[in-house]
């Protein structure tokens, strides 16, 4: 099967103006993925499905990722020649910038006919609040239907062109998106016998410690 770089080059030749990039996976799995802009997402998906060399006819998995705002440090190194004639200095300039958060949808594509895969397709939304619309790939791969509904339910990505975009796990009146990293769950902590971690913090909030007067007197350390 073609490498993601080869697929990207063919996609760029086929769709001039489309935003296609390869996101490298530095891990040992080295499953590099194709990052595709939402504007051409549907056309690119149809191309991947129908191209005779790829024939990616099966979408095995569609899932979402929530990326919060994060601070990125860019390091730009410039070489400054020494006016006295010595060796040139390398000056590193660090600039911090805020990378706005976004939601991401990941599709794992396989070819049943040619028996290869996966090709991993990513699409990113503009932000996490109002620009969350992405093209639905359910018209291309029917198996995306429930999983895109799940991403809509739990992450809040709106899929345009989805035939039946409703919540699938939570009830229709529910307003939150529980898989987002900043989801605040309802404050319904109850007593736990052995709280630890996050649960311990909740336990301390709901069951404050006894008054110091009521606590048992501490033994004085013996000299």
């Amino acid at each position: 099967m073609e490498t993601p770089d080869q697929i990207r080059d063919r996609l760029l030749a086929r769709f001039p103006g489309a935003a296609v990039a390869v996101v490298a996976n530095p891990g040992p799995a080295a499953q590099h993925s194709l990052l595709v802009g939402g504007a051409h997402g549907r056309a690119i998906a149809e191309f991947l499905r129908d191209d005779p060399a790829l024939r990616l006819d099966f979408c095995s998995n569609a899932t979402g990722v929530d990326w919060l705002d994060r601070e990125v440090t860019d390091v730009a190194s410039t070489t400054v020649p020494d006016p006295a004639g010595g060796p040139a200095k390398v000056v590193e300039q660090k600039t911090k910038r805020l990378q706005p958060g976004y939601l991401e949808v990941v599709y794992h594509l396989f070819s049943m006919e040619l028996r290869h895969g996966p090709v991993i397709l990513r699409m990113r939304t503009g932000n996490r609040s109002d620009k969350v619309t992405l093209p639905s790939l359910t018209p291309v791969w029917r198996s995306c239907e429930f999983q895109e509904r799940e991403v809509f339910d739990l992450y809040g990505v709106v899929f345009s062109g989805h035939p039946d975009l409703r919540r699938i796990l939570m009830w229709d009146e529910f307003k939150d998106h529980p898989m987002r990293k900043d989801y605040a769950e309802p404050d319904d902590y109850e007593w736990e016998p052995t709280p630890h971690g996050d649960v311990l913090a909740k336990a301390k909030l709901h069951y404050p410690a006894a008054e110091p007067a009521a606590a048992a007197p501490k033994e004085e350390p013996k000299p």
Binding site: W171, D176, A203, K204, P208, A210
Partner: protein, 216 residues
């Protein structure tokens, strides 16, 4: 003025056995009624998760819940005496469980089967699982386990029969449905924007009042 003497004592079990050998059945209406209904507890045909698999096993030949008169799993809550809440009650499912409970005729009983139905179990800290069905409906028997073995379910059923045999039909100890004017309807929670509304029935359940030890 003659001494009336001590009041007639209730016959002991040995005396009643002796009478029964002579062909005389000595019992009370209450005892007969409880004997009958405790041996024909018809559960609702209702399962939620993996505990329901054990419930099915208990109803099959190896464990044979028919020995206790409870093999008649009713597909309609109108005909059921017992709801076995067998499995995880998600918040999306909880209103339906309460609605089924409301549709069952009195006298009715509830068994919370397994860790999830008792307390939410391993999912207790999740956002989508009810932390025990006793937040909304009164539970008679709790069966711990994850899931409980069919023997445990049979034991719970026997405990429920024990409880039914001890119930009074008249007087202040009678169950609520025998009391005039007692409400037998339980409010069905509504789907809210963030959680079920209300998150619990405060008449049935209140969080435990505990004080954490210093340094804990």
């Amino acid at each position: 003025m003659s001494d009336p003497g001590p009041p007639p004592a209730t016959p002991t079990d040995a005396e009643r056995d002796e009478l029964r050998r002579q062909g005389i059945l000595l019992t009370s209406m209450e005892e007969l009624y409880n004997w009958g209904r405790s041996r024909s507890v018809w559960p609702l045909n209702f399962g939620l998760a993996c505990c329901a698999i054990e419930m099915m096993a208990a109803s099959m030949a190896r464990f044979d819940i028919a020995r206790f008169g409870s093999e008649v799993f009713r597909p309609s809550p109108r005909q059921a005496d017992l709801i076995i809440v067998s499995g995880t009650v998600t918040k999306k499912m909880a209103p339906q469980v309460v609605r089924l409970w409301n549709q069952m005729p009195e006298p009715k009983y509830c068994i919370a089967m397994g860790a999830c139905a008792i307390s939410g179990g391993p999912f207790k800290q999740g956002y989508n699982v009810l932390k025990g069905i006793d937040r909304y409906i009164p539970v008679d028997i709790y069966i711990p386990g994850c899931p409980p073995r069919p023997e445990a379910l049979l034991h719970g059923l026997m405990q429920l029969q024990e409880k039914m045999r001890g119930q009074r039909l008249t007087g202040p100890e009678a169950p609520p449905h025998m009391q005039p004017g007692a409400a037998c309807d339980y409010p069905v929670p509504a789907f809210g924007a963030h959680d079920l509304e209300p998150p619990k029935n405060p008449e049935l359940w209140q969080p435990p009042v505990l004080v954490r030890k210093e340094g804990a």
